[in-house]
């Protein structure tokens, strides 16, 4: 193996911690806070700036917050089970609802200045995104968490027993390598949008999923990865909820039939034939002010564009939000969010959210509650695990390979920009990722598998380009897992739409696991969905 990247030289920054949290968004900060509350030393490394990066800081946060009353909880859980294609797990849903209900009010005890409504009551369900994330950062710092910003991780480190014992990475602004030895690691790096320029999503490149797979963790639900957000044309502003109030039209003004919430396929198909327009003409006028107040970022963009979305129709298009609004990711094997690999825990969008929302998007509340809950569980379990570890002073090995340590058998290197271009050409188009066919998926996989072999041989870089090379490797791995899972699910279930298998197949009412690097495999999850109540039937 060659080591041209500098990754195998001794790093300029060397730290140790009980718990290392990789990521800086909602689940990462909750994990760091929880671990610090347990009294252990915590380091958090963020690719961007903890408090501003990740989709929660930018998009706005609503929590799935349901009072612990039987009827309300049953209705909330059953609705998500049905919408999600009946592959959810009721015990996980219950735990998320309980944990969110317990955890969120603690913000007030810590001094969080909730936004107030007209009656001066704190607004709990609807987080005020930039304030909320900034507050979580300051809470973590107050508890002694050491934060490294602009410090993307490049790989996990393992000890001689194969336990995860830290990570290493690169500080973009200082141009130096870092290494953190830790008793346990929480991956909270978010989902993957394949750098589609969706709102706040470009930092979500699937890094954590690749790191996890490199030490043997498995993924689940990767076929639910083709979610496209609606944006005003040419913008990044993918706020989807309000489009339920929209009438969608073609250029000539004819209405595109098909309710948005039943299926997005009519809209996605129409977008392949010509421009699509929307207007929130079905929103009652008395709601307009409330709608403006609840989504300041969307209306900021519309005001900059000088468009009144209630009164004027405006062109829209679709931007891939991948597994951020999709649900696939690393599989948490237990309620403590352990990954199945000793010393490694998963939180937030890096993990599969199928058990909560199935194959439907968890955006717009469940994802945020999942981040709070899984962050809490992973942070706590990581602290407990770290306490049991003797201080690890032995030699650690880097688990990273593709993009980091090329085998060098290629005649020429592979540039990260070129690799990303090829990955995006297969993942970003609506025609390939939203409207899937067996033929199309196989064709894409041929391209991606071939690129993986080239990347294995020659993809790397130095400094900032090394980070880009690893991101490209991660997005490539994510693409192969997504499409291999998509190929194995020979039916249409919620957001996974196979145009060659347009019906739901009751025999496939299970989750699909996926994993592997050089050879990607899939298999049905032997842990079956748990629906409970009266909605057991698919």
């Amino acid at each position: 193996m060659t080591a041209a990247s500098g990754v195998d030289q001794s790093p300029e920054v060397m730290l140790s911690a009980d718990v290392l949290v990789v990521g800086g968004g909602l689940s990462a900060t909750w994990a760091a806070i929880t671990a610090a509350e347990a009294g252990v030393g915590v380091v958090l490394v963020d690719k961007g700036y903890c408090g501003a990066s990740g989709v929660a800081a930018t998009a706005g946060v609503g929590h799935w917050l349901v009072p612990p009353e039987f009827a309300a909880r049953e209705a909330a859980m059953s609705a998500r089970a049905v919408q999600g294609g009946s592959i959810t797990d009721r015990s996980w849903q219950e735990r998320v609802l309980d944990e969110t209900w317990r955890r969120l009010p603690q913000l007030g005890e810590w001094g969080y200045a909730y936004a107030k409504d007209q009656r001066n009551q704190p607004v709990l369900r609807l987080g005020h995104a930039p304030h909320y994330l900034r507050f979580l950062r300051s809470r973590a710092e107050r508890l002694g968490v050491k934060i490294l910003d602009h410090s993307p991780a490049l790989e996990l480190l393992t000890d001689s027993d194969g336990q995860v014992a830290g990570a290493s990475g690169y500080q973009l602004r200082q141009a130096q390598h870092w290494q953190v030895r830790a008793g346990a690691v929480v991956l909270a790096t978010g989902g993957c949008t394949w750098k589609s320029k969706s709102l706040g999503g470009d930092v979500n490149t699937g890094d954590g999923q690749l790191f996890g797979a490199e030490v043997g963790a498995e993924l689940s639900g990767m076929e639910f990865s083709g979610f496209y957000g609606i944006v005003p044309k040419s913008t990044s502003m993918d706020k989807n909820g309000y489009y339920g109030f929209a009438t969608f039209t073609r250029e000539d003004g004819s209405v595109i039939d098909g309710a948005l919430f039943a299926s997005r396929l009519p809209l996605l198909r129409a977008s392949l034939e010509g421009p699509v327009f929307a207007q929130f003409d079905r929103a009652p006028r008395e709601n307009w002010q409330t709608m403006r107040g609840a989504m300041p970022n969307f209306f900021m963009v519309m005001d900059k564009l000088r468009i009144d979305p209630f009164m004027q129709r405006f062109a829209v298009e679709f931007v891939l939000e991948g597994t951020v609004r999709g649900t696939g990711g690393l599989r948490a094997v237990d309620y403590d969010c352990s990954s199945g690999v000793s010393g490694l825990y998963v939180a937030g969008d890096v993990a599969s959210r199928e058990k909560i929302v199935g194959g439907a998007t968890g955006a717009g509340a469940p994802n945020a509650s999942w981040a709070v809950s899984s962050g809490t569980w992973a942070g706590k379990a990581a602290a407990v695990h770290a306490r049991k570890q003797a201080a690890c002073t032995g030699r650690l090995s880097g688990a990273g390979r593709v993009g980091l340590r090329p085998s060098g058998s290629a005649e020429r290197g592979l540039d990260s920009h070129e690799a990303l271009r090829v990955v995006q050409a297969e993942l970003l188009p609506v025609s390939k990722n939203a409207l899937r066919t067996g033929v199309g998926l196989r064709s894409s996989l041929t391209v991606l598998d071939s690129l993986w072999r080239d990347a294995e041989a020659g993809l790397t870089g130095v400094g900032r380009d090394l980070v880009r090379a690893r991101e490209a490797a991660a997005m490539l791995a994510m693409g192969r897992w997504a499409y291999t899972s998509g190929l194995s699910r020979t039916e249409t279930r919620v957001m996974h739409a196979r145009t060659d298998f347009p019906e739901r197949d009751p025999a496939q009412q299970h989750r699909i696991l996926v994993g592997g690097l050089d050879r990607v495999w899939t298999k049905p999850d032997s842990v079956l969905p748990v629906l409970g109540g009266d909605w057991q039937a698919a």
Partner: protein, 116 residues
């Protein structure tokens, strides 16, 4: 995309350099940060929200504006109070803390979505 760093307004605090999630800015030689990696901008508006001097303008477009574009016309955008607009809307400028709808109110609005 970030299009304007107003030299007239910028105080050289470099908060934008520090908080940009995709590391678009570098510290400039004359205190005013420079847009060093424009293509990396993800149009997330965080810099506009964090800038205490309302010196930044993020155009809504997710690809860079052409020279001469309205999104680079600092004078016209200032005249329309567009610099720092997001900061004002999310209440990070303290002077203007916006009201959020209550949990119940927002829930009621979303329940009103027609299901056809």
């Amino acid at each position: 995309m970030i299009e304007i760093v107003s030299a007239e307004r910028c105080t050289g605090c470099n908060i934008c350099v520090k908080i940009c999630p995709t590391n678009v800015f570098d510290e400039g030689l004359e205190d005013v940060p420079v847009i060093a990696r424009h293509d990396d901008c993800q149009t997330c508006f965080q810099c506009e929200a964090y800038c205490p001097a309302d010196a930044l303008f993020v155009a809504p477009m997710r690809t860079p504006a052409e020279p001469g574009s309205e999104w680079r016309d600092e004078a016209a955008l200032k005249a329309r109070n567009q610099l720092g607009l997001y900061r004002m809307r999310v209440g990070l400028n303290k002077k203007n803390v916006p009201e959020l709808p209550s949990d119940d109110e927002f829930f009621a609005v979303m329940q009103a979505i027609p299901r056809r």
